[in-house]
Subunit: 341 residues, 2 copies
DNA sequence: CTGAAAGCGCTTACAG
DNA sequence: CTGAAAGCGCTTACAG
């Protein structure tokens, strides 16, 4: 703060009323007469009065700041979620502090702690991939309203906002079956990845429903999925004597690696092998052939998360029902599964 | 805050000392004996004492929070800058509140105002494209330390952190000349775009230095550069009777539109027409041929901005020298200007 | 309808 | 080396 800031005291002195009256007038307290309110507000306006956020927060122990934790802010899907969070929070009079865990579990705990220390009213978090053990973050959950989004964990008792991974994956696989594919490979992450497991379940369900036998040889699990891994695992799939006729990669990044490798070997996409990703990143329309994928509406997801969080923050009761909200992603069919003649 | 939080008062009572002593012990005041310090710190630790950030901020009118304003958080280059900002700020004990202007001048003013209202210690901002008139944001600059990055304006008196646009563009054009191109088109934004103008200046300088005549017909200016505009302007360039043999698009997004259009007309890249972009987005390696571009080190830029801002915040004097710091971007040569046989 | 007073948790000039 | 006291700017129960 610089010198010369307008305070309640100053306004009170000028108007010859008490500080209490000024405070109440500005907060539209019913006890205050309309005239008084008007004159106070007018003066406050003309003197550019801005409440001291610290005094206010201090007094009410409320900051109107939300804390957000994501693994990596440059990840496109997460940046769209952040966009939604910022917009909705701003509309509701909240600011947003963002921190990154860089997919580091220790950093994640540290960041959650500093966020609470900085007096945020609640936290929105997307966990690191490797968060198998939630013990270190559980204490934070007793102090503040928290909502998990995207990378969630069912070991944490709180409201969670996710994509309908299972259903969307089911639709992906069904689409592949509909275009005549019979030997559908999946490149997924290991068990610790909540989202990947859900998609895998959808995959299995679709195969079952269409009486297609599950073949472990074309179910590939990797630690950390990426474009590189997509390439490597495609090489592996191509080395099988009984090759797949479709590859469902659990992320667009990996799917792009798949396409690049298939092209290197002059394999026709989608005729010989079709490819599907997940997320609808910007890249998925740049790659050729363009990638069939599941569009995840990040902004909606972010907005929804903020709504539920503020609801918890502003609720009077301590008893909160924890819900799991699924935001629907939609299948976007492009050239990697459908030939435009 | 929930019930049962540890305060200085509680610690004082337990240890039978005054609140002042506890406060000083925790802040390592030289007056306090080592024994007292140790016992205080030990108890504070064991009782999970966390200073009330509001009381502290209120008292010292310092929040240790930095405000950041960007046009669009999902823009890849800006998200890498944000990553750098978050990391450096965290290292130095600051948190970061992020807001978006969505390239809306009114929103930008509003956001700057709320940031100051929320008691941030300083602001890092990247302006909207259309900020010709800085009058509405100037008042904020008198209240708080502010630093501009990437989208800056020379009408604002403050430290500015940018890429070496002019020099980098010079290198781009020189590279095109070196591979034998003689008729180099540029797709840029109009005058109001600071970055675009700098790159354009670099373009002109390179042509001049190599005695290549400037031809207005292949200098294309658009309002809002994008992939779409890249496509449209390529169509325009191709309709000329004297076509260019290289196209320098001021952003990767536009350059990708250029490549897509050239491919549609089966024009050989780079033999017939070479293409260069700017930024080194993720897409630039996905497109085929891969795109020659200028890598802008976003993280470094973000970290640098934070360093200068905190320096201003923590400086005792009011007189601050405003500098313009250029972060060097490097030319990355890929297939769109160089044929791999 | 309005005011005086207490207090939120911390820091710090002053006194000893 | 330590303590008592004032005060940062606000809100609110209490009193009138």
């Amino acid at each position: 703060m610089k010198k010369g800031v307008t305070t309640l005291k100053k306004l009170a002195k000028i108007l010859n009323v008490s500080v209490s009256t000024v405070s109440r007038a500005l907060n539209d307290h019913p006890d205050i007469s309309t005239e008084t309110k008007d004159s106070v507000k007018k003066l406050a306006q003309s003197m550019n009065y801005v409440p001291n956020i610290f005094a206010k927060g201090f007094r009410k122990s409320k900051s109107n700041i939300l804390g957000v934790l994501v693994p990596n802010i440059t990840h496109y899907f997460h940046s769209t979620i952040l966009k939604g969070i910022l917009e909705e929070a701003s509309l509701r009079g909240y600011r947003v502090i963002i921190s990154e865990s860089n997919n580091d579990v220790l950093k994640q705990t540290e960041m959650l702690n500093t966020l609470t220390q900085f007096g945020v009213d609640g936290i929105l978090a997307s966990l690191t991939k490797m968060t198998k053990n939630v013990d270190s973050i559980l204490p934070v959950f007793n102090k503040l309203p928290i909502i998990l989004f995207d990378k969630v964990s069912n070991k944490v008792p709180c409201t969670q906002i996710i994509t309908n991974d299972e259903e969307a994956a089911f639709n992906v696989v069904e689409h592949l079956i509909n275009i005549g594919k019979k030997r559908i490979a999946i490149i997924k992450e290991r068990e610790f990845s909540y989202n990947s497991e859900k998609r895998y379940t959808g995959y299995l369900k679709a195969l079952k429903e269409h009486n297609i036998e599950v073949d472990e040889k074309i179910i590939i699990s990797v630690d950390d999925i990426s474009q590189q891994q997509g390439k490597r695992m495609t090489n592996l799939l191509l080395s099988l004597k009984n090759r797949p006729d479709a590859i469902f990669a659990i992320t667009d990044y990996a799917a792009i690696g798949v396409i690049q490798t298939l092209k290197k070997f002059n394999i026709k996409i989608p005729e010989e092998i079709a490819v599907v990703g997940f997320s609808n990143n910007l890249n998925s329309t740049i790659i050729e052939p363009s990638l069939t994928t599941v569009d995840q509406p990040g902004e909606t997801l972010g907005k929804t998360a903020v709504k539920y969080l503020i609801e918890e923050i502003e609720s009077d009761t301590d008893i909160v029902m924890h819900k799991t909200i699924e935001i629907k992603g939609s299948l976007i069919i492009r050239e990697s599964t459908f030939k435009v003649k």
